[in-house]
Amino acid sequence: MKDWRANKLMPGAIIPKGGTAREYKTGGWRSATPKWDEEKCKQCLICWISCPEGAVLVKDGKVRGIDMDYCKGCGICVAECPFEVIEMVGG
């Protein structure tokens, strides 16, 4: 189903592959943007487990940044970070 498109109808409107929502970028919803400070980060990963979008990028067990394709700017990571590493900036 690699080349599947929306207008290739499956019986029952089945979506024949997983995770196609990744193609829909929710970053455009943002009205404020979280700014993460790599220097200050203690790598506790609380922001990662708290984000409703799965938008906190983690590789090899370490936060690497925030995926602006999907971050909706809710600010939960800012509210939850125990070390005030992330701050919200306008736009």
Binding site: P11, A13, I14, K17
Partner: protein, 403 residues
């Protein structure tokens, strides 16, 4: 003759015949909930499970809404799944009937026809299945236990055909057929097994390496209308598949099926169109009237959805007058079967006059007397070329109505 030598001829109720077909089909999942007059089917099946005679997972739900929901889950998972119901049960699962068909899940469900409340009544009429007309289910009707058995087996092949993938409802008359004992022939187990084959599910949930999404939201920006058209096309394709399945079924049973049965129709001038068990009584009266020299016949519809309009028009077009018997009401207009038949005939150059009789509601008897009355009225219509009353009732008692 050799290949049909191992048939078992038995005395059985309609429910018993359906349960036997289910046992031979041996579905992966059987979802059970009791309702009169269907209950005996799931009771029998419980015994098959207890005896180890089937491989089925037997799921005893807490309502018919849940039974159809569980069928939907099991069928989407990739299993062959069956349930059975009647009346209020079918009405309770109404919402889920649309979802089963719209999700293109080949669920098989015998429906033992029974009246809908109120007033509550446990006996036969067709208001349950007629109410489900537009749910997207294929609907087969059965005159007797034999046909209920045969239809149940064929339903599997129709439903699961890749060109179709739609649920099938097999209807039989409550009590009259479900509980009446008559003769039927059961096919050998292994022949049924090879006739129904194994289900090859399309995009099943349990193929976890290829995750699929069933039941998405398909709104204004989507393809809702195209998906519905696709579903309607599948119902169209079911026409050929129903006939193919019937042809193959004849090879293992010796019994032939089509969209409908014509009884002395070729040279008839007037005829009755009906569903299910009333056909038997009607045939009997036809034999009597034929002996009196009257040109009477019958068309007994087997396939109600998809509706075989073209074939039906072809079979009825030479008649002077037709009476359609409806064992259901559509308050405010004519009976549902009548509507369909008249629509089928409408574009013919010359067409028979068509009248409608409501009969048998809540199990009211349809006897030789009622069948004769219908034919008498037809003869008048045929003779005068005039319809006095489009809609009449058969077998009403004399009453005084206050409000």
């Amino acid at each position: 003759m050799k290949n049909i030598s191992k048939k078992r001829v038995v005395a059985t109720t309609g429910n018993g015949a359906v349960a036997e077909a289910m046992k031979q089909i041996n579905p992966d999942v059987l979802v059970a909930y009791p309702i009169t007059p269907q209950t005996a089917i799931v009771q029998d099946f419980s015994q098959f499970v207890a005896d180890g005679a089937v491989d089925s997972e037997y799921v005893t739900v807490e309502s018919e809404h849940s039974s159809m929901s569980a069928c939907i889950g099991a069928s989407a998972a990739g299993a062959r799944v069956m349930t059975a119901t009647s009346s209020q049960g079918l009405a309770l699962m109404h919402e889920m009937l649309y979802i089963a068909a719209g999700s293109r899940l080949p669920i098989i469900m015998p429906n033992v026809n029974r009246a809908l409340s109120a007033p509550i009544n446990i006996h036969c009429d067709h208001s349950d299945s007629m109410g489900a007309r537009d749910t997207g289910w294929i609907q087969l009707y059965s005159e007797n236990a034999q046909e209920a058995y045969d239809n149940t087996i064929q339903a599997v092949r129709i439903a699961e055909n890749k060109k179709v993938l739609l649920p099938v409802m097999v209807n039989l008359d409550g009590f009259i057929i479900s509980h009446g004992i008559e003769k039927a022939e059961f096919i050998e187990d292994r022949k049924v097994k090879s006739f129904v084959g194994e289900r090859k599910p399309f995009l099943p949930l349990l193929d976890v390496d290829n995750p699929v999404t069933y039941g998405p939201f398909d709104g204004l920006g989507g393809y809702f209308m195209e998906h519905k058209k696709n579903q309607a096309d599948a119902m169209e394709r079911a026409r050929d598949v129903i006939l193919e399945a019937a042809e193959d079924f004849a090879k293992i049973s010796g019994r032939k099926y089509g969209f409908f049965e014509e009884y002395l129709l070729d040279d008839a001038e007037i005829a009755i169109v009906t569903l299910n068990s009333s056909a038997g009584t009607t045939k009997h009266v036809i034999n009597e009237l034929r002996a009196e020299g009257l040109p009477v016949g019958l068309l007994k519809l087997r396939v109600f959805r998809p509706f075989p309009a073209k074939e039906l028009a072809e079979a009825l077009k030479h008649l002077k007058a037709v009476a359609v018997l409806d064992r259901a009401l559509s308050s405010g207009f004519v009976g549902p079967l009548f509507s369909e038949v008249q629509t089928a005939l409408f574009n013919l150059e010359t067409r028979p006059k068509v009248i409608n009789f409501i009969y048998g509601l809540g199990g009211r008897d349809y006897t030789l007397h009622e069948a004769r009355k219908a034919f008498e009225e037809l003869m008048t219509v045929a003779k005068t070329g005039k319809i006095k009353k489009t809609l009449g009732y058969l077998g009403l008692k004399e009453v005084e109505v206050l409000v």
